[in-house]
Symmetry: C2
C-alpha cells in the first residue's frame, strides 16, 4: 500500500464501522425490528449518520484526501477511494449539518410510514412525508447543481454517472419504440401460452426448499450470507463477508419468490466477489446502481428465464409441486415464465414490459422534480400512464403508486438504473458469449464458469471504475443499448 494512502486508515476504519452499523440498522428495520421502535431507533440512525458526516468533514480527512489526489503513484483502487471521499466531502459541504441530519432521520421513519400506507391502501398517510422527502431532495440537488443544470440531472448523475436526461430521453424513446410493437404481438399470442399452473396454492415450506436449492445452485455462499424475508425483497451487505438478501413468499404465486431470489442472488454474487482489499472502503460496492442491476437482471432474466437454465433444475421444482406441475413439461413451464402480459406491479412484471414500468416512474420523477406535477395529483398521473402504456389501471394505491419502497427511502432518480442495468447486462452478455457457450454451460448445470467470468471481468473491481468506464474496459465499447434491443427482438420478436 502507498505510504501516503496509509494515512487514510483511521478514517477508513471509522467509515467502515459507521457504514456497517447503518446498513445493519437498515436491514434490521426492514426484516425484524418491532414497529414501536421506529422513533427511538431513528434517533440512533440520525446520530450515526451525523458521525459519518463529521468524520468525513474533519480537517485531517480533507487534507489527506487533497494530498492523495495530487499523488501520481496511487493505484487505481487507491485513487478511486480518494475520489469517492472527495465527492462525499463536496456533497456534504454543500448541505448544512442540521438539514442533512433531519433528512437521514426522515428517511428512517419514512419507510415505516410507507409500509403502513401501502398496507392500508391509503396514499394520504404517505403524501406529507413524500412531500418532505421531495422538498429535501430538491433543496439538496439545488445546492449541488452546476449552473443551468436541471435538478433531476443532479440526482441522475449521482446514481449513474454519465446518464443525464439528455442520454436517458433517447434511450427510453428507443426502448418504447422497441417494446410497444413487441408487446402488441405478445398480447396477440398470449392466449396460446397456458400459465394457469403458475397460480393457485403453493406450500410455503416447499417454496422455501426450492429457493434454498436454487440459491445453493447459483453459488450463494451461506458461510458469508444470510437469507431472510421482507415486504420488498432487497440485498444489503455489511462487508464482503456478510451479504444479505431477502425474498417474499406468496402462497398463491409459484414463481414470485423464485425470481426475486435469483435477482437478489445476482446482487449478492457481486458483493461476495469484490476484491478483499476494497471491502470496507468506499470502493467496496458495485460500480453503480445500474451495474448492480445488470448483474441481478442478468441472472433473473437472461439466465433465470432461459430453457437451458431450467433443464437441469426443473425436475426438482416438479418434485416439490407434483400436483401442479406433473403434466407440465419444462418447455411449457419456460414458455409460461416468459409470457409477456401488461400488468400493474413492476416486481411481478415480465421481462418485456418491465422497462415500461421504469419509464413511467422516470416520466413521473421528471415532472415531480421540475414542479409540473403536484404530490396530490401523483396517484392519478400514475394510473393514467399505466393505462396509456400498458392498458391497465390500478384498483388501489397499493398496486399503484405505493408499490415501490424507493421514494420512501429518498431514492429519487434511482429507477432509470434498472432499465440501464438491463442494457448493460445485454452488452456484457454479448461479450461473454465470445468466450463461452452460455446455453451449453447452463444445460450442463455449470453455472460457475459464468460466475467466474463475471468475477474476473466485473465483480472484483468493485467501484474502482464507474459503469461507463467498466463497460469500455470489459466490452471495448462505450454504453451501447443496441445489444439489449436486439436481445428483446430475438426473444420476443
Amino acid at each position: 500500500m502507498n505510504q501516503k494512502f496509509e494515512q487514510l486508515k483511521p478514517y477508513l476504519e471509522n467509515w467502515a464501522a459507521l457504514q456497517a452499523a447503518l446498513q445493519l440498522f437498515g436491514w434490521d428495520m426492514e426484516t425484524l425490528a418491532p414497529e414501536g421502535a421506529g422513533k427511538r431507533t431513528s434517533l440512533v440512525f440520525g446520530v450515526l449518520s451525523d458521525r459519518l458526516r463529521e468524520e468525513t468533514l474533519k480537517p485531517e480527512t480533507k487534507a489527506i484526501v487533497r494530498e492523495l489526489l495530487k499523488d501520481e503513484t496511487l493505484s487505481d483502487a487507491e485513487r478511486s477511494i480518494a475520489k469517492k471521499i472527495q465527492k462525499d466531502i463536496d456533497d456534504l459541504e454543500l448541505i448544512p449539518a442540521d438539514e442533512y441530519r433531519a433528512f437521514t432521520e426522515l428517511q428512517s421513519t419514512a419507510t415505516t410510514i410507507w409500509a403502513k400506507a401501502r398496507e392500508e391502501k391509503n396514499f394520504d398517510l404517505f403524501a406529507p412525508i413524500l412531500e418532505e422527502i421531495l422538498r429535501y431532495t430538491r433543496k439538496f440537488a439545488g445546492y449541488k447543481a452546476k449552473e443551468g443544470q436541471a435538478l433531476y440531472d443532479v440526482l441522475l448523475e449521482d446514481f449513474e454517472k454519465g446518464f443525464p436526461m439528455a442520454v436517458l430521453d433517447p434511450f427510453f424513446d428507443q426502448l418504447k419504440e422497441t417494446i410497444l410493437p413487441l408487446l402488441q404481438k405478445a398480447k396477440e399470442r398470449a392466449d396460446q401460452i397456458p400459465d394457469d399452473f403458475l397460480f393457485g396454492h403453493f406450500d410455503i415450506d416447499a417454496q422455501k426448499e426450492f429457493n434454498d436449492y436454487i440459491l445453493d445452485y447459483l453459488g450463494f455462499d451461506r458461510s458469508r450470507g444470510v437469507v431472510a424475508e421482507s415486504a420488498h425483497p432487497f440485498t444489503t451487505n455489511l462487508h464482503k463477508d456478510d451479504v444479505r438478501i431477502t425474498t417474499h413468499y406468496y402462497e398463491e404465486l409459484l414463481t414470485s419468490a423464485i425470481f426475486s431470489s435469483i435477482h437478489e442472488c445476482g446482487h449478492a454474487l457481486y458483493e461476495f466477489d469484490i476484491a478483499d482489499e476494497l471491502s470496507q472502503t468506499p470502493a467496496g460496492g458495485g460500480a453503480s446502481c445500474g451495474m448492480h442491476e445488470s448483474q441481478s437482471r442478468f441472472f433473473e432474466n437472461m439466465v433465470g428465464r432461459s430453457l437451458s437454465f431450467w433443464k437441469p433444475v426443473y425436475p426438482k421444482l416438479q418434485s416439490l409441486f407434483p400436483e401442479q406441475l406433473k403434466d407440465v413439461s419444462c418447455e411449457k413451464f419456460v414458455a409460461a415464465i416468459n409470457k409477456a402480459v401488461p400488468s400493474l406491479v413492476r416486481t411481478e412484471s415480465d421481462e418485456l414490459t418491465y422497462c415500461l414500468h421504469i419509464m413511467i416512474r422516470y416520466e413521473l420523477e421528471k415532472q415531480l422534480m421540475d414542479g409540473s406535477l403536484a404530490i396530490t395529483d401523483l396517484p392519478a398521473a400514475w394510473d393514467d400512464l399505466y393505462e396509456k402504456y400498458l392498458g391497465v389501471r390500478p384498483a388501489n394505491v397499493a398496486e399503484g403508486v405505493l408499490q415501490d419502497i424507493h421514494w420512501s427511502q429518498g431514492s429519487i432518480g434511482y429507477f432509470p438504473s434498472y432499465a440501464l442495468g438491463n442494457a448493460y447486462g445485454a452488452q456484457i452478455a454479448h461479450r461473454m458469449a465470445e468466450d463461452m457457450d452460455i446455453d451449453a454451460l447452463l444445460e450442463q448445470g455449470n453455472v460457475s464458469v459464468i460466475t467466474d467470468w463475471l468475477h474476473e471481468h466485473i465483480h472484483r473491481f468493485g467501484a474502482v471504475y464507474d459503469a461507463r468506464d467498466l463497460l469500455m474496459k470489459v466490452t471495448g465499447e462505450d454504453f451501447n443499448p443496441k445489444y439489449y434491443f436486439e436481445y428483446l427482438q430475438r426473444k420476443f420478436g
Copy 2:
C-alpha cells in the same frame, strides 16, 4: 430538566447511538450473522467500542460530569446518570486504549469460537481464547483494584455493588446448608413423581404456538418486542421500545423452551417498563444483573412453576400436545416441573439445585482469578465439583464446562448474580404478598396486577438506585436472604 444537565445531551445522544449499535451487532451475531462475517465484523465492533470510549473520555464530557456531581439540585435520575458516566470515565482511564480495544474485539470473536468448541465438544479449541480473556480480565481488574482488594472482588463489585466474597461466601454457605438436606429428601421422593410425559417428541410448531401464547399472556409487548432463536437464550434491548428475547427449542423436551421464554420475558418486562426519560441513558437498564435476574427468576419459578399459574393456561398446553398430556392432570404436570433431580446443565436444572450450579461456577471463578486453578485443569475441576455437590459427572465438555456462554463474553463474576437474583426475588415477593394474594390473581389469570406492582416498585426506576438501595426502598430492609431460604424450605421441605 436541570439546565446544567442539559449540557450532557450531545454526549448522551452519542452514547445511546453507539450503545444501540453495539447491542444490535451483539444480537445479530448470536441470532443471524453468517459464520464467515466474524473477522470483519469484529473490526466494526472494535471501532464502535473505541468511539464510545473516546466520547466518554473527551475533556468536555469529563468537565460537565465533574460539575454535575457537585450540583445539589440534580434529581435522583440525573445524579445516577452522572455517577454512571463518572464510573465509566474512572474505569476507562485505568485501561490503556489499545488494550481496551483488543479486548472488545476478542470478546466479539470469542463467542463464535465457544459455540464451535461446544458443538465439537472440544475444550482445546476454546482454551487459548479463555486464557486470553482471563489474562485481560485479571489485568483490567488489577488496574482497578484498591489496595489489598482481591481481583475477583473487583469483578464482583462491578456486576453487583455491595457483594464481595466476604458477603457471598457466607451466603453460599447458608445456601448449601439449606439445599443439600432438601435435595436429599427430594431424591428420596423423586421415584414417586412421574415426569416421563415431559420427554419424548414434541412438535416444534406446536411448541412455538404455546410459547407465543404464554408470552402474550404475560404481557410481552409485540409492538415493542422481538422473539427469535439462539443457541443460548438471552435478552437484549436497543432501548425501551425495542426489547429482544431468544429461546431455544428442543424437539425432545417439552418445557425447556417454555421456561426459558418465561425467564427471558421476566427480563423483557423490566426493560419495557423503564421510565421513558431513563431509556437511552446509562440509567436506562436494570438496577443490577442480580436485580434483573430477580425478575426473570421470579417469573420463571415463583410464578411459572406454581399450580395457580398453570391452572388457567394448562388446558392450552394439553390441547397442543393431546397425545402426551391427555391423561396428565394439571397437578401432576406441576409436580413434574417441580421435581428436583441433580443434573448436569444449569439452564435445564430444577429450581432447588439451580443455585448449586451457580456455587460451582463461583468456586471455580475464585480459583481461576487467584491463580490456583489452571485453564488446562478447569474441565476436570468442573466435573469433580459436579460429582461432589450433585453426584453427577458430565460425559463431555458440551454438557460440562462449555455449557455457558458467559466466560466467552468476558463475563467473569456474573454468575453469583443469578443466585442473588433468586434471593432478591423472594424478598420482593414477600413484600408484594402484603399488597395482594399472588396465588389468587394467578388462578384468575390476572397477571397484570403483578406486573403493574413490579412496574411501580421496581421497573420504572431503571438503574437509578443500585440493588441494595432498591431493596431497601421497596422492602424497607437491606438484602436479607432468609426469605429465599424460607421459600425453599416451604416448597421443598
